[in-house]
C-alpha cells in the first residue's frame, strides 16, 4: 500500500470540495427559482394555494433531509427512471432549499406594511407592478441577510448527499479514511474545509444583518 501524506489527503479532499460547491450552487439557485415561484403563487393565489404551499413548507421543514434524499433516490426510481446520485441529490436539495427560502421570503414580504399594498393598489397598479415597483425593492433589502445565512445550511446539507453515494467532501473523507486508516486526521481536514467554506459566508450574513439593523435604527 502506498503511503498517504497529509498533502495527498488534503489534495484529494480539495478535489472533492468542488462537488460540494457545485451541488450547493445547484441547490441554492434551483431552490431560489422554485422558492420564488412558490412565493408568487402564494401571494397571488387564493387561500387554497396558500394552505397547500404552507403544507409543502411544513413537510420539508418537519422531516429529516436524510429521509428526503432517500425518498428522492428510491422514489424517482419507481417511475422506471435510472437515477444517479447526482439527480437524486439535486432534486432533493433543490426542493428542500425552496421550502426554506419561500418561507423566509414570505416573512420578508409580510413585514412590508399593509399600507404599501393598499396605496399601490389605489394607484391602479396591477399585482405584478405592485411587486416590481413597491414590494420587492423593500422586501429584497430585508431578505438578503437571512438568505445568505441559509446558504450555510445548504452547504452543510450537501454533506448528507454522501449517504446516497454522491462523492463530495464528506464521502471522499470516508473513502480516504478507509484507505489510510487515519480517520482523525482525515475528518479534521474535512471539518476544516467545511469551516473554511462556511465561515466567510456566515460572517458576511452577520455583517449584512448588522448593516440593515443600523439603517433601521
Amino acid at each position: 500500500m502506498t503511503d498517504f501524506s497529509l498533502w495527498d489527503i488534503l489534495r484529494n479532499l480539495l478535489l472533492a470540495l468542488r462537488w460540494t460547491v457545485v451541488l450547493s450552487l445547484i441547490a441554492f439557485v434551483g431552490g431560489g427559482v422554485v422558492g420564488g415561484l412558490l412565493l408568487f403563487a402564494r401571494l397571488s393565489g387564493g387561500p387554497v394555494v396558500d394552505r397547500l404551499i404552507g403544507l409543502y413548507v411544513q413537510v420539508f421543514q418537519g422531516t429529516p433531509l436524510l429521509m428526503q434524499l432517500f425518498l428522492a433516490y428510491f422514489g424517482i426510481a419507481l417511475f422506471g427512471i435510472d437515477v444517479s446520485a447526482w439527480t437524486a441529490a439535486s432534486v432533493a436539495l433543490t426542493l428542500y432549499t425552496s421550502a426554506f427560502l419561500t418561507e423566509i421570503w414570505r416573512g420578508c414580504v409580510a413585514s412590508i406594511p399593509k399600507g404599501q399594498w393598499e396605496a399601490s393598489g389605489s394607484l391602479a397598479l396591477s399585482f405584478g407592478e405592485q411587486m416590481r415597483h413597491v414590494i420587492l425593492p423593500q422586501a429584497t433589502r430585508i431578505a438578503v441577510a437571512p438568505t445568505v445565512g441559509f446558504l450555510v445550511q445548504v452547504i452543510k446539507g450537501t454533506a448528507l448527499a454522501s449517504v446516497i453515494g454522491f462523492i463530495e467532501l464528506t464521502k471522499a473523507g470516508s473513502m480516504i479514511s478507509n484507505a489510510t486508516f487515519k480517520p482523525f486526521v482525515v475528518f479534521s481536514c474535512v471539518a476544516l474545509l467545511y469551516f473554511v467554506l462556511c465561515f466567510p459566508v456566515s460572517l458576511y450574513a452577520k455583517n449584512l444583518e448588522r448593516k440593515i439593523n443600523v439603517a433601521r435604527r
Partner: protein
Amino acid sequence: MGIDFDFGAVLGQWPLLLRGVLWTLGLTAIATVIGMVVGVACAWSRASGPTWLRWVVGSYVELIRNTPFIVQLFFIFFGLPAAGFKLSPEVASVIAMVMNLGAYATEIIRAGIEATPRGQIEAAVSLALNKVQVFLRVVLPPAMKKVWPAMVSQIIIVMLGSAVCSQISTEELSYAANLIQSRNFRAFEAFIIATVIYLALSVGARRLLNWAGPKYFFGR
C-alpha cells in the same frame, strides 16, 4: 406502467419502528437536557466570563455552526478512537447531538440574556444578590422565556438531524427503516412511513414543548 405499493409489508414490522421511535425520542431528550445546560453555561461565559473563556466558547460555537452534523458525528465516532477514545454508537450520537445543540443554544440563550434590561440587574445587585444568584434567578428565567420558541425549533432540528446517526448504526428510526427495507426491498414505502412518523414527531414535539415550557420550566 404500474407501481404497486405495499405498505403492509412495512407496517407489519411495527415493533422495529416503535423501537426506532423510542431511540430517536430518547436520544433527543438526553441531548436536549444536557445541550441546554451546555448552552446556558456557554452563554454565561460569553456574556460575563474572562476573555480567554469567551474566545474558547466563541470558537466552539463557530466551529460547530459552520460544519455539517454528519462530519461532527464521523469525527467523534471514527476520529476519536484513533486518538484513544473508544465510544459506542449511541454514546457518540449523544455526544455529537449535545455538542451541536449546545452551540446553537449558546447563541439563542445569549440573545435572550442580552435583552435583559440593565435596571433589573442593578436592582438585583442592590438587593445584595451575588453574581450567581443574579444570573440564575433574575437574568436567566425571563431570558429563557423570551427565546423558548427559537429553542424549541432548534431542538426539533436536532431531532430531525439525529436521522444521520443511523449512519454509525445507532438504532433509531431511520436505522429501523433501513433495516426493514433491506429485509423486504420495500425501500420507498419504508422511507415514506419513517418520514411521516418524523413529521408527526416534530409536530407533536413542537406542540408539547411550546405548551410545557412556559407552564413547567420557567415559572408562571
